[in-house]
Each structure stands twice: as C-alpha cells, then as structure tokens.
C-alpha cells in the first residue's frame, strides 16, 4: 500500500463519525477526501477499507444512509450521523483522549525523570 499509513478499524470509525459531525451528511468519496486531507495526506483510504467500515457503522445504528445527488449532480449515497452515533462519538472521543493522554505522559521525558 505504498508509503502511506494504513488505518485500523477502530480509529477509522472514530474519524468517520467525527467527519460526519463536523461536515454533516456526506458521501463516501467526500468522507475519504476529508480524512485524507486532515491527515495531511498521510492516510490513504481504498474502497476495501472504507466501505466495509461504513457498512459496519450503519449496521450498528450509528449512521444511516440514503441515495441523493452530489454537488455535481451525481447520484451518490449520503451518510448521516444518528443520535446514537453522536453519543457514541462523544464516548469514543473521550476514551481516545484519555488513552492518548496516558500514553503521552508515559512517553514524555519529564515523567521518566
């Protein structure tokens, strides 16, 4: 997969939820573009990673989808955050923050001294 990093499922789900929260309803291509841009093009999402993740979130009830028209009048499937999805996003974001805080402290030079 070249020099770009692979995303793993748990974090991808969080990124998708966050993206939908900040951008509103969005199609798969838009979500992928957004995630890649924010990562400074360090991440690259192929279909085999992105779409199964979207499907999984939908099966779990965090997002819903419906067919609509894109800005360029192209038929596309739009994903939207549900209420439980919003709650899930909050919960996961908090957990992620905690985890990174702990790890950051763990890895920072001051703590070791």
């Amino acid at each position: 997969m070249g020099d770009k990093s692979e995303v793993w499922q748990g974090t991808l789900a969080l990124m998708v939820l966050k993206t939908l929260e900040s951008m509103g309803p969005q199609h798969g291509y838009g979500i992928a573009r957004r995630i890649e841009q924010i990562s400074g093009d360090q991440l690259s999402l192929n279909y085999g990673t992105l779409y199964p993740a979207l499907l999984k979130l939908e099966q779990e009830g965090f997002i819903t989808s419906e067919w609509g028209l894109s800005e360029n009048n192209r038929r596309a499937r739009f994903y939207r955050l549900t209420r439980t999805g919003r709650a899930q996003l909050k919960k996961e974001a908090r957990e992620w923050e905690q985890a990174t805080n702990i790890l950051a402290r763990f890895l920072s030079p001051e703590e070791q001294g």
Partner: protein, 899 residues
C-alpha cells in the same frame, strides 16, 4: 444491544444479495467518478486521471469481497451457497439421489417410528400428577407371581398403611350392556373406589368425578365416561351431565367426562364400587386391583416393607384364607412398562442396525461418486479452496441428503404411527398416546444430522485427500482407479453390511420359527369352524337361577336350530384366556407341591367338549339330570352361606361332580384312574366323573395346567351370570353371527353381543405380542437384506467397471470367460464369506438376548442359522449376477479402445 442489532442487520444482509450488490457497484462507481473529476480538475488528462483513481481505489475484487463479508454472515452465506450447490449436484444425478434418499428414508423412518413408541411407553412420564409417587399394589400367593386382592385384605391394608397417602381399589375391566335408547352395545366397565381419579390426580374435562358417599347403595348410579364413549353415545354434547346411560338395564346419571388422552386399564365407563362387606366378598377370593400414592418421604421399598408386615399379621389372624398371602409394591410406571422394556430395546437395537446398514450403503454410493468427482474437487483445490472448505462442502451435501431422507422417512413414520394409534388391541401398554411429538422430531433431526456426518465423513475426507497435480494430469482411466484405502474401506462396508444383516436375519428367523412353533403348538382343541361371543345378563332383570337358566337354555336352543350350526355350548372360560383358578385338597395327599398347584376352573354345558373336539379318556360326560341337580345344589349351598358366612364345610348330599383334564389326573392321582375319586375345594367336596384331554390355558407358551370342569348351571348362581357361547358350524363360522344377534334381540333387546371372534382369532389374540415382534423384526431383517444386496451389487459393479480394461487385456491374451467369471466371483465370495463369518460370530455370541422370545427352539438353533446362511449366500449370488454378466460380456476391443 449493539451486537444484536448488528447481527439482525447482517442476517438481513443474507437476502436480497443481488440488489445489494448492485447498490455497492453504484456506490463504488460514483466514488470513482468523483475522484476522476477531481483529478481532471487538478490538471491531469482524462486517461491519467482514471488510472490514478483506479490505483487509489485499491484491489476492487477484494474490496467487493470485504464488503460482502461485512454485509452478511459469512458462515451462513457459505452454508446457503453449499446447500444450493449441493442441491444442484443432487438434482444432476437423480438416480443416485433417489436411491440414497429412499435408503435413508427407510432407515430414519423406521427409527422414528420405533422411537415414537419408546418415547410414549418408556421415556415420557405417565400423564398423572406426581406420577413417580404412584404405585400398583398386589398380593402374592404360594405360587409365584402377583395376584389380585381379596376385598377384606384391601380394606385392612387401606386402614393400616402409613407409607401411602391414599389407596384406591378397582375391578378388572368387565363387559357391560350399555344403551341410551337404541340398540344395546357392549362397553368395558370398571367399578372403582370413589377416590380413583383423585389418587391418579386427573381432573375431568366436563363435570366432576365421584363424591365420597357415592359408593353407598341408592347414590351409586352415577357414571364417569371416557372421551370416546362421550362422543359415541352423546355426540360430545356439553349438556351430557345429568343425562341417563343404561348399564345392564339400570339407569346411571352421567357426572363427568375424562380427558381425551385418559386411558386406564381398558375401562370405558367408570362406576362407584360397592365398598360394603358384601360388595367386597369374602377373604380368600382374589379379584380386585389396587393402586396407591406414596407419601412424600416414602419409597417403594419402605411401602413394600410396611405392607409385607401388614400381610404377615393378616396371615396370623386369618390362617385359613390368608396362608402364604404376601404383598408386592411396584411403581406404576414400571407396572406399565416392565414386560415390554427388553422387547422394545431389542426392537430399537434392530432398527438402529437397519440405519447403520443404510448408512453403509449410502457411504458406499458416495465413495463411488466421490471417485467420479475427483477432478471437480481437484480443480476447486487448485483454485484455492482449503481442505476444510472442501470437506465442509461435501458434508453439507451429505447432510442435505440425510435431511431429505428424514423428511420422507418422517412421512412413513407418521403413517406407521397412525396405524398404531388406530390399532385397537395393540399389545403395547400405554398411558400416553403414541405420536410424533417434539421429542420425536428432535430425535429425528439429531439422527439425520448424525447420520449425514456418519456416512459423509469418510467419503469427504477421502475425496479431499488427493494429490492435486496427479489428479489434474491424470486421464479418465486413472481417475477411475482410486487408492487402495478406498477399496479396502468399501469392501469393509459391504462385509459389515452382510454381517449385520445376517445378525438381524438370524434374530428374525428365530422369531419366525418360534412364531410357527407357537401357531402349531398343541392347544388341545379343534376350533377352525368355531365362533364365539359372550353374553352378560344384568343382575336386576335376571336375579335367580330359574330366570337365568331359562334365558340360556332358550338361547342355546335357538342357536341349535339355526341352519349351518352343528353343535353349540356355553362356558365360563375360553381356552387360551381362562383366568379363574384355585387350590384343591386331596385327602391323604401330603405332597407340599400340590398345595401350591393352581387348578383352573371352567363351568361348561355338556356339549362343550364336542364343540371344541376335546377327547374323553375315561368316565362320562355331564348328563342333563346332572345339570338340573347341580344347579339346585349350588343354590342350596348359596343359601347356607347366606345364613352362615363362616360355614366350614358343605353337607355331603350337596357335593358336586367334576370332569378333570389329564394333567390334573396325572398330578394328583399318578398311575390311577381318578374316576370316582374326590377332592375338596372351598368347603365343597367334588367327585370326579370323567377325564378329558388338556387344553392350553393362558399363553400358548405355558405348559397345560390342571383344569377342572363343572356343570355350567353352578355358575348361574351368584352375582354375575356371564357366558361364552361357542358355536361350531359346517361352513363359514362368522356367517351365523347376524342371526345369533337377531336371536339375542328377540330374547332380550337390552343385551349386547360381546366380543364376537372365531377361535382362530382367539388364538391370534393370545399371540399379539409375538405377532408384532415377528412382523417388525422380520421387516427390519428383510430391509437390511435388501440393502446388503444393493451394497454388494454396487461394489461388484464398480469392480467390473474399474477392471474392464484389465479384463479386456486378459481376454485378448487368451483368458477364457470362465476365468473372468472366477475372478469376479472370487471377489463376491470373499466378501460374502467374511461377512457371514463375522455375522455368525456376532449373532451367536449375542443370541442370549432373545432367548426369552424363542419358543420351541434355542437361540442358537442350528437349522435357523444354516437357513439364514444359505439365504444370504443365495442373495449375494443373485446380487453378483448382473455385474458378472457384464464382466463376461466385456469386449476386448472396446475395453482396450477405452483408453
């Protein structure tokens, strides 16, 4: 919650696959298109833009696969896919599928049917409340066995017991003339203590059961009906309560209807039993049955101990009547199933063997087919299917096969069960209905999955274990020569099948010969043209000797005058059924064994012996004068007893005469002519006037027992006036039944004609157990023989097909057709001989199991075994015929060109 929701969504994803695929393609396409547009906008030429977008998308086919996997449930999806594929495969070879399904249907269907019987009889609890606390109570006597109660003994037990919470007494089922305006019909009546239903813990579906005071005269004309009688006499009407049903010409009020499933001791109508001293008869007269309910902390053993003590005390208290009278307690469940347990398990074992042989056969077919499918399987393996994946697919196919077989078999079992349900006199004791219920269905499903794996696993493992390169390179010819292991396995299966079928055939042969022996066992009478039925005179209408005699004399006269009738008689007992017996005392006889010898009693008219062709050996028959005198004498004895119930002996001038059988003569008066000798029984003295031939009483299996015949007029005194009529005709005996019925109706229209049967039917009735067992085991054995023959046939056909080239070469090199014949026959002979050897070993060492079911031969009867071996050898010769013919007709040219 999240997982359940996701599971449901994914489960939904199993369906509508094509539409969802289409949506996925749309989504991917729009993604690609937007990417391309963006790329163009950022300055690429269209071709470049498309190429970059495609690279970015990643491997599209693996993306599709990932997506689909996330969409559904991969396990189920594979299963569905395998099922579809398997079904298609099976449809493609309808011949194979039909043979396999029919084979399995027979095996699984037979197992389901037998299991449904076992389930009802052995596994399901009796349908009574706290059924494990219910017990059957018996008295014991000097002779081995269990015996009914004497009324006063029962009352003492009931009063003294502390281990039983409640007991209830009831009579044997007996016939009764029943009608509710219209022609009288015969029903089966049980008189019961008023608490019978509450001891059983069964509530009526309509109305109520007996109140405690309804055993008293005046209140006792109430009746509880079974569901069937309710339907038959009252059309199932709800307002039946309070309606009248006439029983033996007396009106009874219907008070309750029992549930449809309720079965108790063959009873159809239940009335309260007279519990007074008179109604319970004297001590020493054993005629009542009893059940009890254990107190919570008590066991069968503790009740047994207590009742034995009570019986012991009674023995001391009443030495005359209660000498050697003990007690036995049996759990009700065991009482119902005890005799049949072993036989049912033998049947289940036999039917399991049938299924095993069926499996072996299908495995054999599958192996032959798998060999033909090696290339297909090799191709799948090359394309990346794992071995597990291939095994799984093949197993799915075989389970699909066995489930299909099970569905067809279930149909057959259903048919069998409905036969059993409608068989009125099936000799299987059951409180529960025999039916295909959830337990039985579960059993069938488990069996069919198990069976599917059993016969499918070996072929599947075998087929998946192959050398890919070799298989794909190989020619058709090579594909047809499988590994040695396969040959061994298939040969082993056939040997096993032959062995099992020999075992079953031997068992069936033994039963069949036992059955034949039983049918031809000397019964001591000639009944081929004799028809019999019984008549019961209601007590109220016929309350004295004169009226009863008048009725029976006129009836007999009328029957004698009917065209076609040779001779007719009346008896209180029928051969093979019998049932009334007692002990006798011979003055001066000190042999203790004789005191424990039961003597059967039968009250007959003089023509009884001629009607049944029972020969006289010495002395003479009853004369008409004897009949008159004996009746009058018995009447006087009855009056004497009424005046003094404790009368010890009857005056000499009222002594009776008897005709005895040869066994009785030989037992009590060995090497003497007993005519003129006397013996005593119940206070009366009997003088022997004649000796006749022995007639089998009870089961045909039993030895003839001592039997004494008394003038029938004696039986007309006392509470019940009942008689079996026996009519000998010189043409079809059943043809006179309608005119006999008409005759009865002219005499008294309130009487029903009970249980009309020919004497051969009476013989058959006494052998119902044997008939059913022989029939079932015989059909199982026939089935396995057929399956084994098919198995041998398919193995040999396959051998010939596989070696046709070799045969061709040999023939081209000068081998004679006889050599080819020898080659194939050697193979058939080896397999058959091995199977027969193995089967003989198994059957002979397991013979003990069915010894008790044999009659007139041992379970290792050489003739039966020889016959079975010859039969099997013959059948396998037959099964080899077609393959051998095919082998001999191999044309060397064709066989060689086959390459």
């Amino acid at each position: 919650m999240k997982t359940i929701r996701a599971f449901m969504a994914r489960f939904g994803g199993l369906f509508n696959g094509r539409r969802r695929d289409w949506e996925m393609e749309q989504e991917f396409a729009s993604h690609l298109a937007m990417q391309v547009e963006d790329n163009i906008r950022s300055g690429m030429n269209p071709e470049e833009a498309r190429r970059v977008a495609l690279i970015k998308a990643g491997g599209l086919s693996s993306a599709r696969e990932n997506y689909r996997e996330q969409r559904g449930l991969p396990f189920f999806e594979t299963l569905l896919q395998d099922l579809r594929y398997g079904a298609r495969n099976l449809r493609k070879s309808p011949g194979f599928t039909a043979v396999a399904v029919i084979t399995l249907a027979l095996g699984i269907g037979a197992n389901t049917a037998i299991f449904s019987i076992i389930n009802a009889v052995l596994l399901r609890p009796l349908p009574y409340k706290d059924q494990d606390r219910l017990v059957q109570l018996w008295e014991t006597e000097a002779a081995p066995g269990t015996y009914p109660f004497a009324g006063p003994d029962y009352l003492d037990w009931e009063k003294q017991t502390k281990t039983l919470a409640a007991t209830s007494v009831y009579t044997w089922p007996m016939g009764v003339n029943a009608s509710n305006s219209g022609e009288a019909q015969s029903l089966v009546l049980i008189q019961a203590e008023t608490n019978l239903f509450s001891v059983l813990g069964v509530d009526p579906i309509v109305g109520r059961t007996f109140a405690p005071d309804e055993s008293q005269p005046g209140k006792d004309h109430v009746v509880v009906l079974t569901y069937a009688v309710w339907q038959k006499f009252f059309g199932g009407r709800q307002d039946v309560i309070g309606q009248k049903l006439e029983l033996d010409a007396e009106p009874y009020s219907v008070i309750g209807i029992m549930p449809r499933w309720f079965k108790f001791s063959r009873g159809e109508v239940f009335v309260p039993k007279d519990m007074s001293a008179k109604g319970m008869h004297e001590r020493g007269s054993h005629w009542l049955l009893a059940i009890g309910r254990l107190k919570p902390e008590q066991t069968v053993a503790s009740a047994q101990a207590e009742l034995s003590t009570i019986a012991k005390n009674l023995e001391h208290q009443y030495p005359d009547s209660n000498d050697k009278i003990g007690a036995t307690v049996v759990s009700l469940k065991e009482q119902y199933t005890g005799d049949n347990r072993q036989e049912l398990f033998i049947l289940l074992g036999a039917v399991a063997l049938v299924l095993l042989v069926a499996c072996a056969n299908v495995a054999n077919l599958l192996l032959a087919r798998a060999t033909g499918r090696l290339r297909e399987i090799a191709l799948r393996a090359v394309l990346g299917a794992s071995r597990w994946r291939i095994v799984r697919q093949l197993l799915t196919e075989s389970i699909l096969l066995s489930i299909t077989g099970a569905v067809v078999g279930l149909g057959a079992a259903w048919w069998f069960v409905s036969l059993v349900q409608n068989a009125k006199t099936l000799p299987i004791p059951r409180a529960n209905p025999i039916q295909v219920d959830v337990t039985v269905l579960l059993f069938t499903v488990l069996v069919s999955v198990f069976v599917g794996v059993l016969f499918g696993l070996a072929p599947a493992l075998q087929a998946s274990n192959l050398d890919l390169g070799e298989e794909l390179k190989s020619t058709a010819q090579a594909v047809l020569s499988p590994s040695g292991w396969n040959r061994w396995f298939r040969d082993g299966l056939v040997v096993g099948e032959i062995a099992v079928s020999l075992t079953l055939l031997a068992a069936a042969g033994l039963l069949l010969r036992s059955f034949y022996n039983l049918r031809n066992a000397p019964t001591g009478f000639e009944g081929s043209h004799v028809v019999t039925f019984s008549t019961l005179l209601p007590q109220g209408k016929y309350d004295d000797l004169t009226s009863r005699r008048k009725f029976f004399d006129r009836f007999l006269e009328g029957i004698h005058s009917m065209p076609g009738v040779d001779i007719a008689a009346i008896a209180s007992e029928l051969p093979l059924e019998g049932g009334t017996n007692g002990y006798i005392k011979v003055d001066g006889d000190t042999d203790p064994a004789h005191r424990q010898m039961l003597v059967e009693q039968n009250y007959v008219t003089p023509d009884y012996f001629a009607t049944l062709g029972i020969p006289f050996f010495s002395g003479s028959n009853f004369s008409p004068a004897d009949m008159d005198r004996e009746g009058a004498a018995e009447q006087k004895v009855e009056e004497l007893y009424k005046q003094n119930p404790n009368l010890k002996s009857v005056p000499a001038e009222l002594s009776s005469i008897a005709i005895i059988n040869r066994v009785m003569a030989k037992t009590f008066w060995p090497n003497q002519d007993p005519v003129g000798k006397t013996y005593r029984n119940g206070g009366r003295t009997f003088r022997i006037i004649g000796v006749v031939g022995d007639v089998t009483v009870g089961s045909v299996r039993g030895e003839p027992m001592p039997e004494a015949y008394y003038p029938y007029t004696r039986a007309l005194v006392g509470p019940i006036a009942f008689g079996h009529l026996l009519i000998k005709t010189h043409n079809d005996p059943t043809a006179i039944l309608p005119s006999a019925r008409a005759q009865l109706r002219t005499l008294d229209s309130s009487l029903a004609l009970f249980n009309p049967r020919t004497m051969p039917e009476v013989v058959a009735d006494s052998m119902q157990d044997e008939t059913l067992q022989t029939w079932l085991l015989g059909s199982f054995a026939g089935l396995t023989l057929l399956l084994a023959a098919v198995g041998l046939y398919s193995v040999l056909s396959y051998l010939v097909l596989q070696r046709s080239r070799e045969i061709g070469i040999r023939m081209a090199l000068g081998a004679q057709r006889t050599d080819v014949l020898r080659m194939v026959m050697r193979q058939a002979g080896t397999l058959t001989a091995l199977g027969i050897g193995l089967g003989l070993f198994g059957a002979l060492s397991g013979a003990r199991v069915i010894q008790s079911m044999c009659f007139g031969l041992t379970a290792r009867d050489p003739l039966t075994f020889a016959g079975v071996v010859v039969l099997l050898a013959g059948v396998s010769l037959l099964a080899s015929y077609v393959p051998v013919r095919r082998a001999m007709r191999v044309d060397p040219m064709v066989a060689l060109r086959y390459e």
